[in-house]
């Protein structure tokens, strides 16, 4: 398979990488694990004059707790590092479990959290659970840095708010009152398949009352989306099977899936209904976050 030509750069520091990206402008593509970039280059969907590899930026490859702020995950952290992280397993188990639903072992040893986010596709498995957990991202460029809620980052099919010259540095999961969360993905195969539909939820339960619920849908709209009608409907209500089923139906109604080779829009909508109900139940019962 043909790989187009490009010039390769591997800056030593984040500052150097930012300066290089500022200089190269739109003609440069950031390279992390490469599982999406190389795929696109080989299939002719991406041509780029310059690839700027982040491989030397070890500072972006870690998972650490920041007291009072939660957990910070560097953008270069690989899926298997998320899955195997004792810190995440202890504090936010639903994220390692979501990483475990992804791709194959071989891809999970290459693909990074940053790439999964910046790639911007609605089928990406990590953004939904991160949004359910109120994650924020930090973008760094030669001009400085800015932070935003991850849910504000996605703005259309494969479109995000990152601008040329910016590098996603890390993602922070804040300390929170959430009592349970989970991500349920339905793929056509247990391993290595993209989501036909996926639902991430987080709940805050207090004496059988749902104080707060976040419902985030994957592969069910042009971007990852929150099912806000269903969330609003659940707020302050007493938990019952009927309530969760109704929330599932509402999430399905507000989803905007499309037909694709992996499933029809109708099938996806049905999946959203069932998976939302199940995910809420699991997050309420299991309690892990």
């Amino acid at each position: 398979m043909n790989m187009p030509d490009f010039e390769y750069h591997a800056p030593e520091t984040l500052q150097e990488a930012c300066a290089l990206l500022a200089e190269l402008g739109r003609n440069a593509t950031v390279l992390a694990g490469g599982t999406d970039v190389l795929h696109k280059m080989k299939t002719g969907k991406l041509a780029s004059g310059h690839l700027v590899s982040l491989k030397r930026l070890g500072e972006l490859r870690n998972i650490r707790s920041k007291s009072g702020h939660g957990i910070v995950i560097g953008a270069l952290t690989r899926h298997n590092e998320i899955y195997n992280s004792p810190l995440l397993q202890e504090l936010f188990l639903s994220l390692p479990m979501a990483a475990h639903t992804m791709a194959s072992n071989q891809i999970c040893n290459l693909g990074t959290l940053g790439g999964n986010i910046v790639n911007g596709v609605p089928s990406a498995d990590l953004p939904p659970i991160l949004i359910a957990l109120k994650a924020c991202i930090r973008l760094v460029s030669a001009q400085g840095e800015r932070s935003m809620a991850l849910e504000d980052f996605f703005c259309g099919a494969a479109q995000t708010r990152i601008v040329p010259g910016e590098i996603l540095a890390d993602t922070t999961i804040p300390e929170q009152s959430t009592t349970g969360s989970t991500y349920i993905k339905f793929g056509l195969r247990r391993s290595g398949a993209l989501a036909v539909a996926g639902v991430a939820v987080s709940v805050t339960v207090d004496k059988n009352i749902l104080r707060e619920a976040r419902i985030v849908l994957a592969s069910s709209a042009p971007t990852v989306m929150r099912a806000r009608n269903a969330e609003g409907f659940l707020r302050g209500k007493k938990i019952s099977g009927k309530l969760l089923a109704e929330a599932g139906a509402m999430a399905a109604a507000e989803s905007r899936p499309r037909d694709s080779i992996r499933g029809s829009a109708e099938y996806r909508r049905n999946l959203v209904e069932v998976l939302t109900k199940r995910a809420l139940r699991k997050a309420i019962d299991k309690g892990h976050i």
């Binding site: 194959s104 071989q106 040893n109 290459l110």
Partner: protein, 177 residues
């Protein structure tokens, strides 16, 4: 950054040093060279197979710093300074690795195209987890597609290897196996 050499046509090549199966190799590669091709074409290690070239089939699996990756999804320059194990590096001193031997014992090989990748995925699993469950074996090889043997014999072979249930077989010349 690895040393860059620009030829008279302006094409840049990068000097990389990779350790493959215990041997250090310094090579000049173009920025767009894919690790699979460098292993096969420059180092003549053709045990690493090419199938889909898009990360789906796992036939190009090698161990990068001990972890299985699809070498078709890795730029050779990105492997600079790292340790690689290919299928050629699995047998030691002319002796098959237990997984290889077990795959022969269990007839877990037909055309053999998936086998190098399968063995490396299994090898990485048994190194990390010497006594995996069947489920763990299936998960570890889920990124390795086999189009002819099917997975039952392969899974049995890996489990048998993990239990040390190996029958050495003397392959004689002309043996039809």
């Amino acid at each position: 950054m690895s040393q860059v050499i620009t030829d008279k046509n302006g094409v840049k090549r990068y000097l990389i040093t990779i350790n493959v199966n215990g041997d250090s190799h310094s090579l000049l590669v173009k920025g767009n060279a894919i690790l699979t091709n460098v292993l096969r074409d420059d180092l003549n290690l053709t045990g690493t197979k090419k199938g889909c070239e898009l990360g789906d089939c796992g036939s190009c699996t090698v161990l990068l710093d001990g972890k299985p990756v699809d070498s078709c999804m890795v730029l050779a320059v990105e492997a600079d300074g790292r340790e690689i194990t290919t299928i050629e590096g699995v047998a030691a001193n002319g002796q098959l690795d237990d997984i290889q031997q077990s795959m022969l014992n269990h007839a877990a090989v037909q055309c053999g195209y998936c086998t190098p990748g399968m063995v490396l995925s299994a090898k990485a699993l048994l190194t990390r987890n010497p006594h995996p469950s069947e489920r763990e074996v299936r998960e570890a090889i889920a990124g390795n597609l086999c189009r002819c043997t099917g997975y039952v014999h392969i899974v049995e072979a890996v489990l048998a290897a993990s239990r040390g249930e190996i029958t050495p077989v003397d392959l004689k010349e002309g043996d039809s196996r």
